[in-house]
Symmetry: C2
Subunit: 308 residues, 2 copies
């Protein structure tokens, strides 16, 4: 086939035109495009309008967490959809590690202090060496995180839909094994897609099974955790703490009880900022345009029946 | 030789007696000991008194940073001295990584905030992927840290006394190359021993060569950095920030200017707490008692002429 015609909408982010061309594509108007690169993570309605005026058969989305596009009904199963699942794993895994290390080394406590406070030689700081870490969701984030944790000497367990082994994990279970795996963990990292099946996965029952000093880390989507149940667990001290890059609601409003808890670390959804994401997105666009032009299977294929 | 007689002073920490016996030694009174395990990191005078009443020819110290024992004149070069250099590397490297990730991901800023603050998609958070990290001192800490950083995709450079290559580093230079290596670095991690040669190594001149957004991380000894020069650099904004597990003076007194700077993270010397250290110390004692009994070279030998 000749050079595939690729539209970039709604804005041509830095380097994307060059990425399309490097992949053998021709940047074109949406009205005559074969494929469409959508660059706005939070505008499913805009995409719906663009698609109504375009014959494109393939759409590349710029983020991995695309539940809002499903909710808006824009994911037409007659088209081919790709997102960046997998591509942003390393950056988000790095952020998950930053949150875990901050919790273990009590960076949040020390950052808030204005004095040297130490409880003798046996201070309460912890090491990840030997800690049991349960990774919920074993896609790009989970895989990258498991590698880092193994090098730190942590003991990794994984949970996913199929039970397919997570490399480096001592054990990988299916989601229904969570009730028996949660009580073993010193850290639980939520790195799964938000779907009808996973919404509210960490509810009061599952949280109640956590160790009293275990931390819950969420770098995926706020909706995977029942926020009210989490606030209760934190307030009662039935868990050690929570480190959240994502919240529900998000942004977390001022005055929300989570802001006032000492054993909480909140970062404002910065695990993979646009600046961090762009190089990976550009590389993926180049590869996928080349594959699209050659009629090969695309990377990051969305399965509309699974919702991610 | 028969079982070496080993004294444990001034306190028999958990598991040390068992470690001596597992190494083939007999726990004995200092007055008839061949070797002496000293368990108090901060009491060189106590050790001096103990040695005056003991024929021990070998002394095992419980920490790696033993400059205060040299300063107190207790390191008699006619005896054999071992410290834990190398043994505590992984834990301290983990803390260095925690501080670096906290700086890159601005955990300190977010931990102090009580509201969701984000500067759009292109937020100021950074990733260690692609960052240039200069590790000053390539012993146990530096080696362990280099491995972690490589897995995160950072570009590592090393500096040490001899210029011997640090594994995983793109370049390793001798200490006198610091003036040309410092300007390249996004992060500088101080992980060297404090000696006559390294005291005040990071003075106003070297700090002035740092990138305007680079962070200085110190997990070694406060005395390696000129504190007043550091406060000036931070106040003027000529460097990005400082993350310090050690300070000079230490403990850092209340009201010290470092407590009031937004671009500073201070942890109270907890990179390797006693609880984290004891398993490594026990393992080292067992190995060294066995080597001592067999007349083999000991691990962690101190070179009195070098001061570490």
């Amino acid at each position: 086939m000749s050079a595939p015609r690729i539209a970039i909408l709604p804005s041509v982010e830095q380097g994307l035109r060059e990425a399309v061309e490097a992949g053998g594509g021709a940047v074109s108007d949406p009205s005559e495009a074969d494929g469409l690169i959508w660059t706005k993570p939070r505008d499913p309605e805009g995409l719906k309008e663009a698609l109504a005026q375009s014959p494109a058969r393939w759409v590349q989305l710029p983020f991995a967490g695309i539940e809002s596009f499903f909710a808006a009904g824009v994911i037409d199963p007659d088209l081919t959809w790709t997102c960046t699942k997998g591509a942003y794993g390393p950056s988000t895994a790095e952020h998950a590690l930053a949150l875990m290390l901050a919790a273990a080394r009590r960076i949040h406590v020390h950052a808030r202090a204005r004095a040297w406070k130490r409880d003798g030689l046996g201070a309460p700081e912890r090491t990840l060496e030997g800690a049991v870490v349960l990774i919920v969701g074993t896609g790009g984030i989970g895989k990258a995180l498991a590698r880092l944790l193994r090098l730190l000497g942590a003991r990794v367990a994984g949970v996913n839909r199929s039970g397919a082994p997570l490399e480096g994990a001592e054990r990988t279970g299916t989601t229904d094994r969570l009730p028996e795996m949660v009580p073993e963990a010193d850290f639980i990292v939520v790195a799964a897609a938000l779907t009808e099946q996973t919404r509210g996965l960490f509810d009061s029952e599952l949280l109640a099974r956590m160790k009293a000093d275990a931390w819950l880390v969420n770098v995926a989507r706020g909706g995977l955790v029942d926020t009210d149940a989490l606030v209760n667990a934190l307030t009662e001290g039935s868990i050690g703490g929570a480190a959240l890059d994502v919240t529900d609601p998000e942004p977390l409003p001022e005055g929300h009880p989570l802001w006032d808890l000492d054993n909480v670390i909140i970062t404002p959804h910065v695990a993979n900022t646009w600046d961090m994401a762009l190089p990976s997105l550009r590389a993926m666009v180049e590869r996928n345009v080349a594959r699209f032009g050659a009629g090969q299977p695309l990377e990051g294929l969305v399965d509309p029946s699974l919702g991610y």
